[in-house]
Each structure stands twice: as structure tokens, then as C-alpha cells.
Point group: C2
Chain length 388, copies 2
């Protein structure tokens, strides 16, 4: 394992009824609050009313920014930044899934920056400060509730880019698994794939001698696999929803499960290119891409893939060669994704070859991607072709 | 799993050569620094000189408090508090193992409190504020480097008591596994037992439906078991020392591996009574007590002990009954402790029956202890008798 720093100051407040602590938790940060949310499902579930009542209980002035998109857009972020300035916002509260949280983080950083917020996404500037923000999570998926990362799309230029900063960790995140009862089946599936993919990006590493980190990754994968079908069959199963929610948070928790190892993120890079153009759900894109990435790279470190097959999927070696065992693990991944209803091919979304070159070129705009295997434009093109 | 809050703001700086970051990390907190350390081994290893040179590089005024005991004493804590007041200390730097860190935490809290610091240990007062403190860890054991807990002994009244507060998390902790190369064999052994015991206290719980937390616990136990003998045989094995050090930190990391579950801590309570009177090393006391606690309580939840036997010790069920399987796991624990050279009986330290009643009475001073099984005075006496 290599040297590392790990810092994660988010106060995680987890459990049934924890939204009732919102007022107390918010109080420390100011009275003028930007409330950021998505399509309005929080109004249907009653969560919106509960949030408003909590904020009224501390005499907050509420400024609203609704309509954050599933792949949150730069235009919404800019609108939020303007609101922060014109209304003298002191605290940002995100209520929703990862997209809403990511938008809120970008707004928080942009509001304390004189230039254009997109500078952070294209590495023209580094975040030096941000408004404090907190969150109420309604979807188990991105881990955004306990890290400083965000992904934003510029719909005009068809670019989807990420940033990360210690200044954009939520001050608190409220996670009530019961809030995920009403998440539709397809979004639950996409969340499950997203959580597993976050672990894959960290688990498939060339770093050796990190046995604890490997087991932490495997712990999350095993727990997600064990609970996924329960949550899909019984959407109100509090324990299954709780376990998925905690897995989602720890899977991308400022890098906790992969401290001191070199993570990959090529598959996320490739998926971002797909959803930047076609606006498909991130989890669905990952379901399509990840097993193909695995097939393309597994020979780089066969022992990691044989360990994956044995420990995560419980596949017995028997008379299998290393290669056969590794491939069995990859097949098990695809079979699981298919079983829970996640797509396997780009054609599922009527996506053909038309933009493969554009996507491959854009994916390596800042150089080769990934660490398990460094992928150049041709490599990315081949993985996309496998995904057709 | 139950509702919980998790908050851990310590900046963990891990890896070879990371002491070189001390100056930069300290700078934010002030110029007058109380340097707390133990018996002076840091002078023999050269670490002391490196620390002084780092602090001089930021023009710090250094106030020294040396001689913190292995079971840190209230008298030393009081001396530290006086120094903080008389020298207007702004930041406390602990350099050493868990005892030194614990003393520093108590000093940090006491320096910002008008009453007597012992009030925090006997629940007469709650910590409201503390001087900022940071640490350089030289021993893998207590997890004190990334939590807000401390254990202090009042040698006059033979009491050993713990406190915990969000105000006493180290602001940063520097962990260079190479600093543990010179830790003597017996202290390495005690550290290993301490780490495993911290996991046991959280793993043996009556809380159900916490599969991720169970696996996180098992991940640490498996990794410690895998690396313990390597580190003992080759004290300069950087990877083995690294893995133990990371396990120690995550084992007692503000409760990360047991979020939402009810932990036990009875064995720690019992051990504290032993070392409060006899001043034996904490890890040695735990090695004596823990397998006996297991034998005394395992019937409360047999399935947890059968899972422990199978997943942690790889014991195959075969034709064993649940009870036989559970007992095989407990025997494996004792066998492992013995194999690495940890003591199994109080008689190893010439401790007889003379104070069993005193210890049993003191252990339950504030009521029954433990959660897996609530232990009253008679229960504690029986576990101590098993330990003779």
C-alpha cells in the first residue's frame, strides 16, 4: 500500500425519522437557505413539507431552486450561484439523490468564486472555498452524501466533468432509508449498479499488499448482492434499503475503502461520455460498460479477477484455469446485472456507432484514462464497440 | 440496524516519511505547543529530533511533558493542564502510543475546563471544549489516533476510567508504519490483541441485520490474523506493519465498523479493573479476559459465534453442532493468542484471588456492564475466576 491522506468531516445522521433533526443541524450555518431539489417527487412523498416545517422552526428564509436534472446541468448550477449572490444565501440544503447533491456542491463552490464555475470542471481553477452545504438523501447510489465530489454536465458542449474538493463535503447528510421506499424500480437498479461500480473502480487496482482494503471492497459487494433483490422485490423492506444505503455511502466515502491504493475510474470516464451525449442514466451506462471494461483489461492482473470470482461470487475454482475463473467472475457480474434488470448493450437505448469516435476522443481529452490499464483513444473505442 | 450518527473529522496522514508534514499540519493551530511523550524511546529512535526540527521550522515555542505512563495517570494529566495554563499552550502534540494520545486528549479537555479533569471520567461533567491536539503514532493498538476516546488511571484510588467526546478527536494523526519497526515484541503482541479486542467488542452484538458491519469487523480480524505473525517474525516488514496499523485505526474509528449496532465493552471494563490495581499492559489483560468472556456469554447468541468460527477462523462445520462450532471458534482465539505469545491467565502475573471481589464490585460501579449479555457483579466475578 502507498502513502495516503484520508479526511472526511461529514456528519452522517442515519436512520428512521432523522429528518426531524434537520432544524437543529442547520441552525449552526445561517438563516438564509438555498433549498435545492429535483423534479418534485419530494412534494408527492410529503418530504418537502417536512423540510419546510423544519426550516421554519428555526426561522429560516428559504430560497428555492427546483428542477435539478438527473444528469445535473451547468445551466442549473449557474442559476443557483446567481440566487446565492442575489439572496445572500448562507447555507445550501440539497434534498434528493446524487444529482441534486452534486449540483448543490457546484453551486456552493461557485458562489465563493469570482470566475465561472466550469473552471473547476476543466481544471482551470481549484476550489479554495465554498458555502457550507448539507443534504437529505433520497436515493442510494452515488455516495455524494459523504464525499467532496460532483459531476456536472454542460449540455451545450455535450461535456460531463467531475471535480472533488475538501471544501465541498456536506457538513451533514441525513439518510433515512424509509425515504428510498418510493424510489422506482429502475432507479433502484441503477443505484445498485452505481454502488457496485464505485467499488469496482477501487477494487481493480495494480496496488498490492492492501488486504484490508480488498476485504472492505468485497464486504460492500457481498452486502449489495445479498440485499439488492430483496429491495427490488419488497421496496418497503427497511433492512434491505438500510443495507443498500449504508453500502452506497461507504462505497465512495472519500476513498475510505481504497486508501493507499491507485483507483481506476476509466469506466466512469467512458460512461460520462455516453450520458453526456445521450442523457441516459449513469447507472444504466455503467451496467453496459463495466463488464466490457473487465473483459478488456482482466489480463493485466489475473489474480485480482480470480479473487473477485471466488470471494465475491463464490465461484469454486475446481478444474478451472486462472483465465476461466476470472472470466466466470465477469460473466457472473453481467448475469447479476441482467437478473436485476440493468441493460447490457448500448442498443437498448438505440445507440449505434454514430458517435463512438467522438466519445472515445473526448474521454481521453486530458490524456489516457484508468490505472489498472491505461486506456488510450483506441482502447476506449474498443470497449465502446464491445458495448454496442 | 438502528439509527446512528457518525462523525470523524481527524485528518489521517499515513505512510513512510509522513512526519515530514508535521510542520505544515501544525501551523494552522498556533505557535505554542505542548509536546507530550512517554519514556523517551522517541529519543533513541531519532523521532524526537525530527519532531523538534519540524516544529522549529515553523518557529514554534515548545513546552515539553515527558514520562507519560503506559497506563496514563491522572497526575500526569494534571501536570499537563497546569503547563497549558502557565505557558499559554495553543496546540498539543502527542508523540507515542495510545497512552500518550489519551493523556494528551485529557489534557486538551482539562485545559479548557474550570473544574477538575477527573469530572469527565466519573460522569460529573461533559466535555464542552478542548484545545486542538494532533498526534504522531508509534504503536498500532488503541485506535486513539482517530477517535475522541481516552482512558486515564487514578493511581491513588486505583480507578481506571474512560471518556469520549467529539471535541477530543485529533485534528490530524501522522501514521508512519516504519515508526513501529522498533516496537518490542511484547508490545507488538499486546497491540495485536488490543486491535482484535476492539473488533470483538463491536462484533459480538445482539443487533441483527447489520451484514455490512459484520463483514467490516471480519475484514479487520482476518487481516490482523494474516499479518500478526509476519510482523512478529520480521519486525521491519513494512507491509505487515502497515496492515496492522491501518487495522488498528479502523478497528476503533469513532465506531465506523459498528454503526447502528449496540456494542459491548464489558471485557474492556473488566480489564480496566485488573490493570487499575496491577498495572499490567492493557492488551495482556484483554488476552487473559476475552476468551473467558466469550465462553461465559456465547449462548446468548450462538449464531454470531458460529459465524465467527466459520468466517474468521475458517473452521468447517462438518458434523459439529452449533455449540461445538462456537466453542471451536473460541478455542481458536485462545490458541492464536497463545501462539503469538499473549498470556492466558492472571497467574502469569502472579495475580490470585485476593482482589477479585474488589475488581468485580468496581466494574459495576455505575450498573451492569456489557450489552451482549448484561453482566452484574457475580457475572464479572465468575469471568475473573475463569481467568485465574
Amino acid at each position: 500500500m502507498e502513502a495516503f491522506s484520508y479526511y472526511n468531516p461529514t456528519n452522517l445522521v442515519f436512520g428512521k425519522g432523522t429528518v426531524s433533526r434537520l432544524g437543529t443541524l442547520t441552525q449552526a450555518y445561517g438563516k438564509t437557505i438555498l433549498l435545492v431539489y429535483g423534479s418534485g417527487s419530494i412534494k408527492r412523498t410529503g418530504l418537502y413539507d417536512e423540510v419546510i416545517s423544519q426550516l421554519q422552526s428555526i426561522d429560516a428564509t428559504i430560497v428555492e431552486l427546483a428542477g435539478i436534472e438527473p444528469n445535473p446541468r451547468l445551466t442549473s448550477v449557474r442559476r443557483g450561484i446567481e440566487l446565492c449572490r442575489s439572496e445572500h444565501v448562507e447555507f445550501i440544503l440539497a434534498v434528493g439523490g446524487g444529482s441534486v447533491l452534486d449540483a448543490a456542491k457546484a453551486i456552493a463552490a461557485g458562489a465563493r468564486y469570482d470566475g465561472d464555475v466550469w473552471d473547476f470542471m476543466v481544471q482551470k481553477a481549484t476550489i479554495q472555498d465554498a458555502l457550507p452545504m448539507g443534504s437529505i438523501l433520497t436515493l442510494s447510489a452515488t455516495g455524494s452524501e459523504m464525499n467532496g465530489n460532483a459531476v456536472i454536465s454542460d449540455w451545450e458542449t455535450k461535456q460531463k466533468r467531475a471535480f472533488g474538493s475538501k471544501h465541498t463535503f456536506p457538513r451533514f447528510s441525513i439518510l433515512d432509508p424509509a425515504l428510498t421506499f418510493s424510489v422506482p424500480r429502475d432507479q433502484t437498479v441503477n443505484g445498485i449498479v452505481d454502488i457496485m461500480s464505485h467499488v469496482f473502480e477501487q477494487y481493480f487496482t495494480l496496488t498490492t499488499n492492501a488486504p484490508l482494503q480488498e476485504r472492505l471492497c468485497e464486504s460492500i459487494l457481498l452486502t449489495v448482492i445479498e440485499n439488492a433483490e430483496k429491495a427490488l422485490e419488497y421496496p418497503h423492506d427497511f433492512e434491505a434499503r438500510s443495507n443498500l444505503m449504508l453500502c452506497g455511502t461507504l462505497a465512495l466515502n472519500g476513498g475510505l475503502i481504497s486508501v493507499g491504493t491507485l483507483d481506476d475510474w476509466a469506466s466512469h470516464g467512458i460512461e460520462h461520455e455516453i450520458s453526456a451525449i445521450y442523457d441516459i442514466p449513469h447507472g444504466a451506462g455503467l451496467s453496459i460498460v463495466f463488464p466490457n471494461w473487465m473483459k478488456y483489461v482482466y489480463r493485466e492482473r489475473l489474480d485480482r479477477f480470480t479473487q473477485y470470482a471466488e470471494r465475491v461470487w463464490g465461484i469454486e475454482r475446481g478444474s478451472k484455469s486462472d483465465e476461466e475463473l476470472a472470466l466466470a467472475g465477469i460473466s457472473a457480474t453481467r448475469a447479476f446485472f441482467t437478473r436485476i434488470g440493468a441493460p447490457a448493450t448500448l442498443s437498448f437505448y438505440d445507440i449505434g456507432e454514430e458517435n463512438l469516435d467522438v466519445m472515445a476522443r473526448s474521454a481521453v481529452l486530458f490524456g489516457p484514462i484508468g490505472n489498472f490499464k491505461k486506456l488510450n483513444q483506441q482502447d476506449v473505442r474498443e470497449i465502446l464497440t464491445l458495448s454496442l
